[in-house]
Amino acid sequence: MGIKRRRALSKALTYFLLIAGVAIVFIPFWYMIVTSLKPQSYIFEIPPRMWPRDATLRNYTVALGKDLFGLYFLNSLVVAVVTTGLTISVSSMLAYAFARLRVPFKESLFYLLLTGMMIPPVMLIIPQFIVSKQLGLLDSLTGLVLVYVTMNLAMQTFLLRGFFEDIPRELEDAALIDGAGRWTIFWRIIIPLSRPGLAVVTIFTFLYSWDEFPWANVAIKETTRRTLPIAIALFQSEHLTEWGQVFAASIVALIPVVLVFALFQRYFIQGISTSGLKG
């Protein structure tokens, strides 16, 4: 009986702590949602309410109708989807070569690639700005995508190589004997067997490119090419007190990442633990 009661007590304590944590994590989001539903006159009300009076969707209709919001959303979506697709293809090709093919100076090349994980991304902003300027890639979504893919390569290749190495070699050998080329093996065997790994790469890359601010803030000056993070930051600096609209736009910007995460999250833990990401 003693043990049973202690077990029950520890379980109750676990739930209590976890729910307290959830409250701390969630209250700012809740406050953001509530604020986005408040009429402008209540934005600085005292006491601040955690439940909106006279709730209205006006902030949403105004914010979304303003400043080409639809276009910014579309820009972000295009950039995130294309970056994710390209990162998956390019880094899985790299990872396959490092995991299975005979490559001269393989180890050195791999470590060269890994230095990409150590470099602070913002330090690259100045020279990337100059290179992009010379290549005519400033103010273009292509310029964003190419830099985003590059910034993700090292990490995602590292991750995927771990997955590919776990795939039994016998499968490939059998296919090789049947006369299949490396390309066929890559597409028909390796890729389909690495779905959890690809899910992790998808989550990381999509989130990264959807949320990225420093590079976009430097590379994009043309109004019609803005992505959501720059658009929201600029909107706030231009409409300092209109928090309801800022948060309405923010919540709409949050929906796609929440969807992508919810969709792929069941692979996520599994992916992280099998990928050797833990060190």
Partner: protein, 300 residues
């Protein structure tokens, strides 16, 4: 040995094709720019007309190191790392331990704790700025009217020290979910039989945690320490948005907000490049020291 057969050559060609797109991007947008930036850092660089740039030797570096605003920015950046990294690790590990039990709604908890991680820095920075606003902010209201620990409103963002409260709290709040997920992955790779055997031998919860779980989790924790520190030293967006970079009086800069200002507001690319190299050197030294120290400890 040197005479490559036809098959070898074909295989080499295949490998090259697999590597080509990645390394092309890598050279063009990462290694190349890094070298270029290194060169710029020794010049008084003219972005409009690079041919007119003047070689200044180490002047950009020495000037940065002698500049009190830069020194302050270095201290602010280090303080940010010293506060947020241990906090994220301790809280993240605790959350992971709690989540690693047989509880209901684990997936839901996981998603909620991860929510701040997937939200863009821009959004959460603005959110914290709003919650910490001096006049009618939620935090002041809670501290003053609900808890009664302060008697009048605190103007968080107008004070060069207090401005870091929202910035540090944001860093911790946003990072804990990721730390917890990585710790959880580490915890799940610990063989359950080991813990059960210890329990049979009469080891209590704490004894099991400190003698089995923690040592086995060591690689995960080292990985987290290094990655979180690199991330913390690169703190940027929250500073830029919450204090406009350095407000008040350039006292709240981080290295990168100062670099950004030097480069894109004052167009002093040489000085900006030097600062980014200084940051890279700090990051490198700190990572190597951390890895060394932790490796030595395992050998003892």
């Amino acid at each position: 040995m040197l005479t490559a057969t036809k098959r070898d050559r074909r295989e080499f060609l295949t490998a090259a094709l697999f590597l080509l797109p990645g390394f092309l991007l890598f050279l063009l947008f990462l290694i190349g720019p890094m070298g270029y930036s290194f060169r710029i850092s020794f010049y008084d660089w003219k972005i409009v007309n690079p041919a007119k740039s003047q070689w200044v030797g180490l002047a950009n570096y020495t000037e940065a190191l002698a500049n009190p605003i830069f020194r302050r920015a270095v201290l602010n950046t280090l303080a940010y790392a010293l506060v947020t990294v241990p906090a994220q690790m301790i809280i993240g590990l605790s959350v992971a331990v709690l989540l690693n039990q047989a509880i209901r709604g684990r997936a839901l908890f996981r998603v909620i704790y991860y929510l701040p991680v997937i939200t863009s820095w821009v959004i959460v920075s603005l959110l914290f700025e709003y919650m910490f606003s001096g006049q009618a902010g939620l935090v002041n209201y809670i501290l003053r009217d609900v808890l009664g620990v302060i008697s009048k409103n605190i103007f968080w963002l107008a004070d060069p020290i207090l401005a870091f409260v929202p910035i540090h709290l944001l860093g911790i709040w946003k990072g804990v979910g990721w730390t917890a997920i990585i710790c959880l992955a580490g915890l799940q790779s610990i063989p359950q039989t080991m813990l059960e055997a210890a329990e049979v031998d009469g080891a209590g919860v704490l004894a099991r945690f400190f003698n089995i779980t923690l040592p086995l989790l060591r690689p995960t924790l080292v990985f987290l320490l290094v990655v979180l520190t690199i991330g913390a030293l690169n703190v940027y967006i929250s500073g830029l948005l919450i204090t406009n970079g350095g407000d008040p009086l350039d006292l709240t800069h981080f290295i990168l907000t100062l670099m950004y200002e030097a480069t894109f507001s004052r167009l002093d690319f040489g000085s900006g490049a030097a600062m980014s190299y200084l940051l890279t050197i700090f990051v490198f030294i700190i990572s190597v020291v951390q890895l060394r120290m932790l490796r030595r400890k395992t050998e003892v």
